[in-house]
């Protein structure tokens, strides 16, 4: 079994470098009940940040709060849009709207309560951040510690300036 696993990993990693990295086609609803197909984000001209979070995830709340403080600047400079995908189950999904409004975040918030997008993008532990530019995934990162949002923004700026 281990041989099979290693072989599979070898082939997969080889292939990963030779292929496109696009968004999957998953339809999610936002906190107002409007449906959005993630694949449609590929058509956007401006950079998109997709951030997986949950109301019970401490580091996620820290990351989104940290980005909220500089979001205006980021938007003026690059036009970047952050889409916050909540992976709260039906247990805590009702907490998403009050929490987002209580904190005054300007992000578009999507609800992934049966984890469809989470599985499609192989996210295991939130927070998980993806930067998409002109339909291609250019950066992915798991976890949050202070300063990670600066690294994130560097990638966004680099993509826009090309």
């Amino acid at each position: 079994m281990n041989v099979f696993l290693t072989l599979l990993l070898f082939i997969s990693s080889f292939v990963a470098n030779a292929q496109r990295n696009e968004l999957p086609s998953v339809v999610l609803k936002d906190i107002d009940g409007k449906a959005l197909n993630i694949k449609d984000l590929s058509k956007e001209e401006k950079p998109i940040i997709i951030n997986f979070w949950a109301t019970w995830c401490g580091p996620c709340l820290k990351e989104l709060s940290a980005i909220n403080d500089v979001y205006d600047e980021w938007q003026k400079e690059t036009g970047v849009k952050l889409i916050a995908v909540s992976i709260d189950d039906a247990k805590s999904v009702k907490r998403v709207k009050p929490l987002v409004n209580g904190k005054g975040w300007d992000y578009q918030v999507l609800l992934d309560s049966n984890h469809e997008l989470k599985r499609a993008m192989n996210v295991v532990n939130p927070p998980f951040t993806v930067v998409v530019y002109k339909g291609e995934i250019i950066y992915k990162h798991t976890g949050y510690t202070q300063g990670v949002e600066k690294e994130l923004y560097k990638k966004v700026k680099a993509a826009v300036s090309k």
Binding site: A18, S25, G102
Partner: protein
């Protein structure tokens, strides 16, 4: 699949997505905690691995999740999970322009809030109740969506399937999209789930077809919203501890109401729920089993998920099944959440703002009585029976300066251990916890957490703390302890300490730790699994590309 991989080299319309996760444990005895001899026989090294590969080509997707539990799965996972096998496998045609989405193979889905039907995966809990069959979805304009599904549920490894067949349908309509409303939204839905249990000698002569349905509606205008969901579970025979009671037939139902109001910087939310015999499984005998095998719907405890370890000692589990012997049918109650952001520059807000969150919940049994004439348990609709759980919490988050922030929390709990866990006492607990994070030198931070629990019974008082140091964006070190110093039994005054490190780069994360794990309920998303006390090394790896 190998063919698919090689196709990728040449084809421009395709891509492969791979996700790998491994969680391993090496159980090592120490002075206070020793591994059960039965488990020692099986081996001290345990490992759960998941390799998920998806291949996309134009409108088609093919994928599989390979799972390995060799040599043995982590303690207290479903014993059906063994060695190496396919966990899930599927083929999918998804044409967004035409509105068609069809999956053949293993699929996950959820109707409404999941009280009627939910197929999902949670690796920490050991839940994977994907359905193996066919799932077809059709989107109508911008306002409607219809789903039809059928198949057999996974109850062990990928092809260990339930001895029953499921049929489901869901139709949802967005009335505001249909009628072009501007300022308010109304979403409605109707779902059906039918289950046909395979006939066998044990259930010969019984009605083996069971129908369940649900209706839901959600309305919102401006900052106000109101939603409700009603589920009706058709009459079915009761199962107690895995055994069928052939003379006991009961119906089930659930009502969930959610409402709230928000404006900038303030919001309030209320959830009310009444459930009666709502827990459903693909085979009757699966209801209530400890490994969560065969669950068909999602009945979470509607309480707040708390961050600190001592706040998770007394965790409420939803009481959604019938207990025939104790004459219990369900639960009724609610929870509320209030969020308030003190504006910056105000007295209480300070320069950087202060955030307040208040929450509470109250859960009780239904008022149930056995009707000896009809041989059924009858429950009054709105009456509250024995109190099961109550909590009230206040959390304040404050940012003192650009680099320094703190969180303070007070939590008061009442936990009816006798009714919920079958133990002897009920417990009143108060937990005070504080956490502070200080950031310095561009990318370093230190987090210190301290907590104390006062309890009048059971294990009594605990004290706990955590210290976490992020050296840079890649490395983090941590050490934590929970000490049950107040336990009446001196032998049980144990330190549950843990120390470890994690390395993160891009999408890869590796973490290793050594220490002790407290025995008790491990709850994820309101669904709980019992984990035994253990000690040893843990290693976890996740990556994707």
């Amino acid at each position: 699949m190998a063919v698919g991989i090689f196709l990728c080299f040449t084809n421009a319309y395709s891509q492969i997505r791979v996700g790998l996760e491994n969680n391993s444990q090496l159980y090592a005895d120490d002075k206070k905690i020793k591994l059960d001899p039965v488990e020692v026989e099986k081996g001290r090294f345990r490992s759960n691995s998941y390799l998920k590969v998806d291949y996309d080509y134009k409108n088609w997707s093919f994928g599989t999740q390979l799972e390995s539990y060799a040599p043995n799965p982590i303690l207290n996972y479903n014993p059906e999970f063994s060695s190496f096998d396919i966990g899930t496998i599927y083929a999918r045609y998804n044409n967004y322009q035409k509105g068609l989405d069809i999956t053949a193979g293993h699929f996950y889905d959820q109707f409404g809030s999941g009280l009627l039907f939910r197929a999902w995966e949670d690796r920490q809990l050991g839940v994977n109740n994907a359905v193996f069959g066919l799932n077809a979805k059709y989107t109508i304009g911008t306002w409607g969506k219809a789903t039809v599904l059928g198949g057999k549920q996974r109850t062990g490894m990928g092809f260990d399937l339930s001895k029953s067949v499921l049929f489901g349908a869901d139709f949802s309509v967005s009335i505001d999209e249909l009628l072009d409303w501007e300022s308010h939204t109304l979403n409605t839905g109707f779902s059906y789930l039918g289950r046909k249990i395979d006939d066998n000698k044990d259930n010969e002569g019984l009605n083996n077809f069971n129908s369940n349905y649900a209706v839901r509606a959600d309305y919102a205008v401006g900052g106000f919203y109101l939603g409700a969901e009603y589920v009706n579970k058709g009459e079915d025979y009761v199962s107690q501890s895995g055994f069928l009671i052939p003379y006991a037939q009961q119906k089930g139902n659930a009502l969930l109401i959610n409402s709230g109001y928000f404006e900038e910087g303030m919001s309030i939310d209320i959830n009310l729920r009444r459930i009666e015999n709502i827990q459903n499984a693909s085979e009757r005998e699966f209801v209530g089993n400890e490994y969560l095998t065969g669950v068909l719907n999602y009945v979470p405890a509607l309480t707040k998920q708390y961050d600190h370890s001592l706040q998770n000692i007394y965790v409420y589990q939803a009481q959604g099944s019938i207990n025939w012997l104790e004459e219990r049918s369900g639960e009724i109650g609610g929870q509320f959440d209030f969020y308030y952001e003190f504006p910056k520059e105000s007295t209480l807000g300070g320069t950087y703002g202060t955030n307040l969150a208040v929450n509470g919940s109250y859960w009780a049994a239904l008022k149930t009585e056995m009707n000896y004439d009809t041989e059924q348990l009858e429950s009054k609709y709105l009456n509250f029976g024995e109190k099961y759980y109550r909590d009230f919490g206040i959390e304040v988050r404050k940012k003192w300066s650009k680099n320094w922030s703190s969180i303070f929390m007070y939590l008061d709990q009442y936990y009816n251990m006798a009714a919920i866990e079958g133990k002897f006492e009920d417990v009143n607990a108060q937990i005070l916890s504080a956490e502070t994070t200080y950031q310095f030198l561009e990318n370093k931070s230190v987090r210190l957490e301290a907590q104390h629990l006062w309890a009048d019974r059971d294990k009594k008082n605990w004290v706990g703390g955590t210290l976490e140091f992020a050296y840079n964006t890649n490395w983090t070190l941590f050490a934590s302890d929970m000490y049950n110093y107040g336990n009446d039994d001196k032998e049980k005054r144990i330190h549950y300490y843990n120390a470890g490190a994690s390395f993160t780069k891009g999408t890869t994360r590796v973490s290793a730790s050594y220490g002790r794990q407290r025995g008790g309920l491990l709850c994820v998303g309101g669904v709980c699994r019992y984990v035994p006390e253990s000690a040893g090394f843990s290693l976890s790896l996740t990556t994707n590309f």
